[in-house]
């Protein structure tokens, strides 16, 4: 189209002559459908506002014009996110929702039939807009909009469910039912919304649609069930047990649809069943999931369908990520080699360093799709390898490492992020970490990602390095020497909460079982003053990591403890620890928050109590602190009870260098430690019983010494 014609069309559209406006609308519609370039071109000309204006019935615009305007808005929504943002900013969503209002003086079934074309265009546009992550999805829950949507859903579902329906508009009825269901699927994002929709009676028409025989409507119903059942036990159970008009259980139907001919139907059914499985309503041993859903997902990975290829790995990740059973099943079903071969196939051809890549990023082109597949395969591999060593071994034997390492230098931040997660899962295996991961050269790209432009990627890189520096000393040295330490310290000052937390975490792991030299290097860079700030951070999680950091600093030689005492200041440190112990009792109304810092505080005390007579004395001199320790001897958590016993063991332990303090026995006796320990001797946890017994025997020998 020439430029002149393009401008004519824009001008006609802005005019008042309905015939010219209609003609212009038709031209715009047929130009932009299927054509991303034209969508962007027309969107930039500013016609979206005019389209929204045409939608409003108050402007005396004819039904046909309104319908065309809605259709064009829907087509625009298939463009990029920027266009969707424009559509939303222009106020299209409320106008389109208003277009679903049915006249109150007509029976709903007739009203729907009379407005069928407008309803079809409006629901189509809404579905397209709501498919974007940019859309605000709460509007359907305000005023009577959900009533309208439910009415339309029920009328259309009833119309197509009748065996001998002779409706002249069947195709439109089916589409409106499908589109309305898709809108519900996309707008149902919270637990409250799930409950509300279910109370509005959404399950019944969805069950009917699921059994309607119209494939598109069935897929939409599965999508809606997926949204409704996500992490919702009640709705998952109700959905599974709902029965079709001919008596079949919905679960049976869903399992049939996992075996459907159509790939997108299989994917939709597998997604739905995955969400229901994750809601924990399936009885063990989950044979339907292991024998039907999982193998279907693995086969779908290999299908020649872009959308299915992109989504299937993500659903698999969802299915396995929290379940060791499913990770084992995925291993046995060869999910990992399959994911690995797809990862290889989408990694080989592309040349990440090539600046002149064909394709527009994020525009749905072939390259963008390959990148999505790569990202999602890495996410799936990360999930499958979370818990089991055999899975990690299989992944490494399937030769994913070169691709995962390569992906860390991708131009696409989402791929870099996914690669970090994948490496992190693999690095949970110390055996592989020391051999394959080091050989594959994972360290230097990870260190490079610490300087990434995206804080999310930085945090993930930090999280991956975290595992690697835990108890593998050569890695500690490398990370310190190659700038990792400097980055961690820098991030502890970050405004990004995840990055800050992960960096303190990394420092803590770096200090775990570290020698005094490493400890001093770290503290020279971090500074004790800032460590004190971190110990009093507004985030309890940061406090927890900072306390653990102190615990690791204090674990080792007496000189290490001296360093911590001098660095933080003996009194200040013990004040902080004492507060953590007393606070946790004050807020001990079932809140887990306070106990988050209780355990690291207690273990720091355990480490200090190992130290010299002076260190022991510093603790014993503080009655408040000692009382708190004793009070926690009957804490509900076994690891806490155990740590208090350790405190007593260390306080009453003597070696050649440092004798037990003479006042120790009396102090402990007055605190009633002996009685508490006797109770602990019959603790349900074996570890606690053993520690209590050791502590008691040391205490008894002290008492003997006292009497001598």
């Amino acid at each position: 189209m020439t430029l002149a014609k393009f401008e004519d069309v824009i001008q006609q559209l802005q005019g008042n002559d309905p015939v010219q406006v209609y003609r212009a609308l038709k031209i715009v519609k047929n130009s932009i459908i299927g054509n991303r370039t034209k969508k962007a071109q027309y969107a930039n000309s500013g016609i979206i506002h005019r389209l929204v204006q045409l939608l409003s019935p108050s402007n005396g615009v004819s039904e046909d014009l309104r319908m065309q305007a809605a259709t064009i808005l829907g087509s625009f929504a298939h463009g990029n996110d920027e266009i969707v943002s424009q559509i939303i900013a222009a106020g299209a969503i409320p106008q389109l929702l208003n277009a679903l209002t049915l006249p109150s003086d007509t029976p709903p079934a007739i009203a729907v039939e009379q407005n069928i074309k407008m309803l079809e265009a409006a629901t189509r546009a809404l579905k397209a807009i709501y498919s974007s992550g940019k859309a605000y999805k709460k509007d359907i829950y305000t005023s009577n909009r959900l009533d309208n949507i439910m009415t339309i859903l029920k009328v259309t579902t009833a119309a197509i469910s009748e065996e001998a329906n002779q409706a002249s508009q069947t195709a439109s009825f089916v589409m409106i039912a499908e589109l309305t269901t898709s809108i519900i699927a996309r707008c149902c994002t919270t637990h409250e919304e799930q409950t509300f929709l279910s109370q509005c009676g959404v399950i019944e028409p969805l069950v009917a649609l699921l059994h309607s025989g119209y494939t598109k409507a069935q897929e939409a119903a599965l999508d809606a069930f997926s949204s409704l059942c996500r992490e919702n036990i009640d709705i998952s159970r109700a959905s599974l047990n709902a029965r079709a008009p001919f008596g079949q259980m919905t679960l049976t139907t869903m399992l049939d649809l996992v075996r459907d001919k159509s790939q997108s139907m299989r994917l939709a059914a597998a997604t739905c069943l995955t969400n229901i499985y994750r809601a924990d309503v399936f009885p063990e041993p989950f044979s339907d999931i292991v024998l039907v859903v999982l193998p279907t997902l693995i086969k779908l990975l290999k299908e020649d369908n872009t959308l299915v290829q992109e989504k299937a790995p993500l659903i698999m990740a969802d299915l396995v990520k929290d379940s060791e059973t499913m990770q084992k099943a995925a291993y046995e079903a060869d999910a990992i080699p399959n994911l690995a071969s797809i990862l290889a196939s989408v990694s080989k051809e592309d040349d990440e360093t090539n600046e002149h890549r064909i394709g527009v990023q994020g525009s749905g082109g072939l390259v963008a799709s390959k990148e999505k597949v790569k990202e999602n395969c890495l996410i799936a591999l990360a999930a499958v390898c979370l818990l089991r060593e055999e899975c990690r071994t299989q992944a490494i034997n399937s030769k994913i490492l070169p691709y995962a390492v390569g992906a860390m230098s991708s131009h696409n931040p989402a791929i870099r992020l996914a690669a970090c997660q994948c490496i992190k899962s693999l690095s949970r295996s110390v055996r592989h970490l020391r051999t394959h991961l080091v050989d594959a050269g994972v360290i230097s790209p990870l260190l490079k990602l610490l300087d990434d432009g995206s804080p999310v990627v930085q945090a993930a890189a930090c999280g991956s390095l975290c595992n690697m520096i835990l108890d593998f000393s050569p890695m500690k040295k490398t990370v310190i020497e190659e700038g990792g330490l400097a980055s961690f310290v820098k991030f502890t000052h970050s405004d990004n909460a995840a990055l800050k937390l992960n960096s303190v975490w990394s420092l803590k792991n770096l200090l775990y079982s570290a020698d005094s030299e490493i400890k001093r290097t770290v503290m020279q860079q971090l500074g004790y003053d800032y460590l004190i700030e971190l110990l009093n951070d507004s985030s309890l999680e940061v406090q927890e990591q900072a306390l653990d950091l102190v615990r690791n600093l204090a674990c080792g030689t007496k000189e290490d403890i001296d360093d911590v005492f001098n660095g933080i200041g003996e009194n200040q440190l013990l004040d902080i620890l004492e507060r953590r112990l007393t606070n946790s009792m004050m807020i001990d109304d079932g809140g887990d928050n306070a106990s988050l810092t209780l355990e690291p505080a207690l273990y720091t005390l355990v480490n200090i109590a190992v130290g010299s007579s002076q260190h022991k004395s510093a603790l014993l001199k503080r009655p408040e602190l000692m009382q708190s320790i004793v009070r926690h001897m009957s804490h509900e958590k076994a690891s806490i009870r155990s740590s208090t016993a350790w405190c007593i063991i260390n306080l009453t332990w003597s070696d050649n260098e440092d004798k037990v303090l003479p006042e120790c026995f009396v102090i402990l006796k007055d605190l009633g430690v002996e009685e508490k320990l006797k109770v602990m001797e019959s603790d349900p946890e074996r570890d606690v019983r053993d520690r209590a017994r050791t502590a008691l025997s040391q205490l008894t020998s002290l008492s003997d010494m006292q009497e001598v």
């Binding site: 459908i33 299927g34 298939h78 397209a128 195709a171 409507a217 394709g359």
Partner: protein, 231 residues
């Protein structure tokens, strides 16, 4: 149970076969659905309408949309791609917005028709303005676009290595792809079920033949007479 027969060749009598056939209960409505499915997918609009009245069975889609689909198909076959695209967009705008490959093939067909009509300047404009951006999104499209543009390089296109693009078969291919996409959007199968059932029947009979079993066979699918071969 008889134990005297030799396992050489089994014969099933016509009576026995017909009794077995009669034992299989087939829902009349299911048969009607098969017929309706055939009429709808193949686009026999009038027959579908009549059959719907006689059988009382809904055609799963409205009759008007069958007509639309047939009109669209014919428009592509007649080289009138613009009209076909407008009709599809009226029928369901999502079809071309969600099928980039189909959309590209329709654009390609438009380009072919321009070249066929000798409108080379328009063809060049169209290719650079409308089609090149699609090629950028997808390298496979770029190859096809280059092949189509090659049509213009030959004095006598019929002698060119890309002459197949001007064959009626190319229009047929595009029309079928579009037809299939419309059917999918209407929750219909791309192919009618009846022919695949017939293929299954042929396959089953061949299996029986291979087992050297003598049974009343259907040789003529038009009459479906059961014929028992002589020993």
């Amino acid at each position: 149970m008889s134990t005297t027969t030799t396992p050489s060749k089994k014969t099933i009598s016509k009576e026995e076969w017909e009794k077995k056939l009669a034992d299989v209960k087939i829902n009349k409505q299911d048969l009607n659905k098969l017929v309706m499915n055939y009429l709808v997918v193949e686009g026999y609009k009038d027959a579908a309408e009549q059959f719907s009245i006689e059988s009382g069975l809904a055609p799963m889609v409205d009759i008007a949309s069958i007509q639309d689909r047939m009109d669209i198909r014919r428009a592509v076959q007649a080289g009138n791609v613009d009209a076909a695209i407008e009709r599809v967009n009226d029928l369901n705008p999502d079809i071309l917005d969600t099928n980039p490959q189909l959309f590209f093939h329709l654009q390609q067909q438009r380009l072919i028709e321009l070249i066929r009509r000798g409108e080379f300047a328009e063809a060049l404009d169209f290719a650079s303005e409308e089609m090149a951006p699609r090629g950028e999104e997808n390298p496979e499209f770029l190859e096809e676009l280059e092949r189509t543009m090659a049509l213009m390089a030959f004095e006598d296109t019929r002698q060119s290595p890309v002459s197949d693009l001007l064959h009626p078969a190319q229009r047929q291919k595009t029309a079928s792809e579009l037809n299939a996409a419309i059917l999918t959007s209407q929750s219909q199968e791309k192919d009618p079920k009846l022919p695949s059932l017939l293929r299954m029947l042929v396959w089953s009979q061949n299996q029986l033949d291979e087992q050297r079993i003598n049974y009343p066979r259907i040789d003529n699918f038009g009459t479906a007479d059961l014929v028992t071969r002589d020993q």
